[in-house]
C-alpha cells in the first residue's frame, strides 16, 4: 500500500486513516469521547492536587502515576509521544543529512517517508484513548523499526565502503552509524505501545508476554545507550570543545542506568531517582537543541550562512532524540509502579 504525504489538516487524515484501518470499527461517538476526556482531566487534576500538597519535593519528582485501570493506555500514549518525538527528530535530521548526501541513492528518501508516517501515527496514537491496537499504527511502527534496521545496515556499509574502510575518519564523516537507530527505537516504542493497549482493562500490562514495565525499561535503556554512543562519537569528533558537550554523554547514560536499576531492583527510592534523572535527560534534549543552534551561530557566517552551516554545524534536529527516549523511560517507570508487590 502507499500513503499520501500528510496534507495540511492532519486530524482529518487521521480520522480517515482511522476509519480505514480500525478493525472492529466502533461507532465514533463524539459525545462519549468528550465525556471520557473530561473525566480523565478531572481525575488528573485531582491527583495532581493531592500530590502537590506533599511539600518538599521538586515538581517533577512529585509527579505520581495515576492509579488507573487504564494504565496500559496511558503508558501507550506516553510511548506514542516518545515515538513521535523521535520520529520527528529523524525526519528533520535525515532530511538535512540526506540532502547533504545529495540523495545520491534513492533509498535515502525512505527514512523521510517512514518517519513522517511515524509522526502521523504517533499523533494519532496520542489522541487515541481506546484500548486496542490499531492496524495503521502497528504497521507504520513496524515499518519504522525495519527502516531503522535496514538503514543501520546501509550506513555501516557506507562507512565500510569508502577507501580506508572502518577507520575513524569514515565513522566521523560518512553516514552516521547510530542515526538510523533513532527510527528503529521510535518504531520499537510504537510497536510496544500497541501491545500495551491490547491488554484488557484491569490486567497487568504486558509487552510480548513479559512485564511491560521491565521490558520497556530495558528497551529504553538500550536505546539510551545507542543514542549516547552516537552523541559521543560526534562530540568526540568535535573534540568536546565546549564543556556542555559532555552533558549528553553523562546525564542520559546515568538515567539509563538508574532506570535499569529501578526496573531490576525496584523500590520507590530507585524509581524516584530514575524519574529525576530521566527528566534531566528530557531537559538535556531540549537544551541540546538550543546549544546546537548556538553552535551553528559559531560557525563561519553563523545563521546567515545557513545553507552551509545547517549542514556542517552541529545538527539542530538530533538532541530531541534524548527527550524522546527519556519520555519512553518515564512511561516505563509508570508501568513499573506497583511491580514491587
Amino acid at each position: 500500500m502507499s500513503f499520501q504525504p500528510l496534507p495540511a489538516r492532519p486530524e482529518r487524515t487521521l480520522r480517515l486513516l482511522d476509519s480505514l484501518f480500525r478493525r472492529n470499527k466502533p461507532a465514533a461517538d463524539p459525545a462519549r469521547i468528550a465525556l471520557d476526556r473530561l473525566g480523565r482531566s478531572f481525575e488528573r487534576a485531582r491527583a495532581t492536587a493531592i500530590v502537590a500538597a506533599r511539600p518538599g519535593l521538586p515538581d517533577a519528582l512529585r509527579h505520581q502515576p495515576l492509579v488507573s485501570p487504564r494504565k496500559g493506555v496511558d503508558a501507550a500514549r506516553a510511548l506514542n509521544r516518545a515515538s513521535g518525538l523521535l520520529a520527528f527528530s529523524v525526519l528533520t535530521d535525515s532530511a538535512l543529512e540526506h540532502y547533504r548526501g545529495a540523495f545520491r541513492n534513492k533509498a535515502m528518501f525512505t527514512p523521510l517517508a517512514t518517519s513522517a508516517l511515524t509522526v502521523a501515527a504517533s499523533l494519532h496514537g496520542t489522541t487515541d484513548q481506546r484500548e486496542s491496537a490499531h492496524l495503521f499504527r502497528d504497521v507504520t511502527y513496524a515499518l519504522a523499526a525495519v527502516t531503522g534496521l535496514v538503514g543501520t545496515a546501509f550506513h555501516v556499509f557506507n562507512v565500510g565502503s569508502r577507501v580506508g574502510g572502518f577507520r575513524w575518519v569514515n565513522f566521523f564523516y560518512r553516514a552516521p552509524v547510530g542515526a538510523p537507530m533513532a527510527i528503529l527505537i521510535s518504531g520499537l516504542f510504537g510497536v510496544a505501545s500497541e501491545r500495551l493497549r491490547r491488554e484488557g482493562p484491569g490486567g497487568r500490562p504486558t509487552v510480548f508476554g513479559l512485564g511491560a514495565g521491565r521490558t520497556l525499561a530495558t528497551i529504553t535503556a538500550g536505546s539510551m545507550a545507542g543514542t549516547v554512543g552516537e552523541a559521543w562519537l560526534l562530540h568526540f569528533r568535535g573534540n568536546f570543545q565546549n564543556p556542555a558537550m559532555y552533558i549528553p554523554v553523562t546525564i542520559p547514560p546515568a538515567s539509563g542506568a538508574l532506570l535499569m536499576d529501578a526496573a531490576i531492583r525496584g523500590g520507590e527510592k530507585r524509581r524516584t531517582a530514575a524519574r529525576a534523572s530521566l527528566w534531566a535527560t528530557v531537559a538535556t534534549g531540549i537544551a541540546g537543541t538550543f546549544f546546537h543552534a548556538y553552535g551553528v551561530q559559531r560557525m563561519m557566517g553563523g545563521w546567515r550562512n545557513w545553507k552551509q552551516n545547517l549542514l556542517d554545524g552541529p545538527p539542530v534536529p538530533t538532541p530531541p532524540a534524548f527527550t524522546g527516549v527519556a519520555l519512553a523511560g518515564l512511561a516505563a517507570l509508570d508501568l513499573l509502579e506497583g511491580d514491587d508487590a
Binding site: R100, A102, M300, N305, K307, Q308, D312
Partner: protein, 222 residues
C-alpha cells in the same frame, strides 16, 4: 585570428554558469567584491607600455589565450600593463633578465622588429599562422638577432609571456565561469567533498545528453 571560441557562459562544459551571479551570495565577502569589481573595471588603454608595444601585446595575448570579443572578454593586455605600472611582480627576478617593465618593452619591440624583418609588418598585423609560428620559435628560443640580446627569448617567454598573461586570465571571472570553478568562497565554503559531489552553489557540468539539465542547475547557482 583564431577561430571563434565557444562563449564560456552559454556553451562549453558548464552551460549557463556565470560565477558573477554569486556576487551577492554568502560566497563573496565585501573585500572580494571590492577587488573583483576593480578588476572588471580595469582601464583598457596602456599606461606604462607605448601604444605600439601595447598593440603588439594585445596580439600576443590573443594567441596565448584565444577569446571572443563579447561581454565576457578579459582585457589581458590591460592587466599585464597594469601590473607593470603598479610594480606587481613575483618578488624575484632571474639574474639574466632586466626588471619586468623594461623586459616587456624590449621583448615586444623585439617581436615587432623580427616580424618587420621577416614579414614586413608589425606582429599585430601578421596572420594567425605567422603569429603562432613566431611565438613558437620564441618559446623554443629560436629567435635571434640584436633586438633579443637583453631579453633571451626562451626565458622571457616562460617567465613573462606565459606567466603574466595566463595568470591575468586565470584571475578573471570569465575564466572561472568557463572552467567551472566555484570562485570566491568566504564566508561560505563547501559542504560536499567526495567524488562527484556538488554543492548547490557550484557549477554543474554538462554530461553528454544532460546539457539542458546542467544549464537549468547552473542558472540556479547562487
Amino acid at each position: 585570428m583564431p577561430d571563434r571560441q565557444p562563449d564560456p557562459v552559454e556553451e562549453g562544459r558548464f552551460p549557463g554558469y556565470d560565477v558573477l551571479r554569486k556576487r551577492s551570495s554568502m560566497s563573496w565577502n565585501d573585500r572580494t567584491r571590492e577587488v573583483v569589481d576593480r578588476r572588471l573595471a580595469v582601464e583598457r588603454g596602456p599606461r606604462t607600455l607605448s601604444a605600439d608595444a601595447f598593440r603588439c601585446l594585445e596580439a600576443v595575448c590573443a594567441q596565448i589565450v584565444p577569446q571572443n570579443q563579447g561581454p565576457s572578454f578579459a582585457p589581458l593586455a590591460a592587466y599585464v600593463d597594469e601590473g607593470l605600472t603598479l610594480g606587481l611582480g613575483p618578488g624575484y627576478r632571474n639574474a639574466e633578465l632586466p626588471e619586468a617593465p623594461e623586459a616587456w618593452a624590449k621583448a615586444l619591440a623585439a617581436l615587432d622588429a623580427t616580424a618587420q624583418r621577416e614579414h614586413d609588418a608589425v606582429f599585430a598585423a601578421l596572420d594567425d599562422a605567422q603569429q603562432k609560428s613566431l611565438l613558437q620559435r620564441m618559446q623554443k628560443g629560436e629567435l635571434s638577432g640584436p633586438e633579443w640580446t637583453d631579453v633571451p627569448p626562451k626565458l622571457f617567454f616562460s617567465q613573462h609571456v606565459l606567466t603574466d598573461i595566463v595568470a591575468a586570465w586565470a584571475a578573471h571571472p570569465s575564466a572561472w565561469s568557463r572552467i567551472g570553478f566555484g570562485g570566491p568562497a568566504s564566508p561560505r565554503g563547501y559542504v560536499r567533498m567526495g567524488f562527484g559531489m556538488r554543492d548547490s552553489w557550484e557549477a554543474a557540468e554538462a554530461h553528454p545528453g544532460q546539457e539542458a539539465k546542467a544549464a537549468r542547475e547552473n542558472r540556479r547557482v547562487r
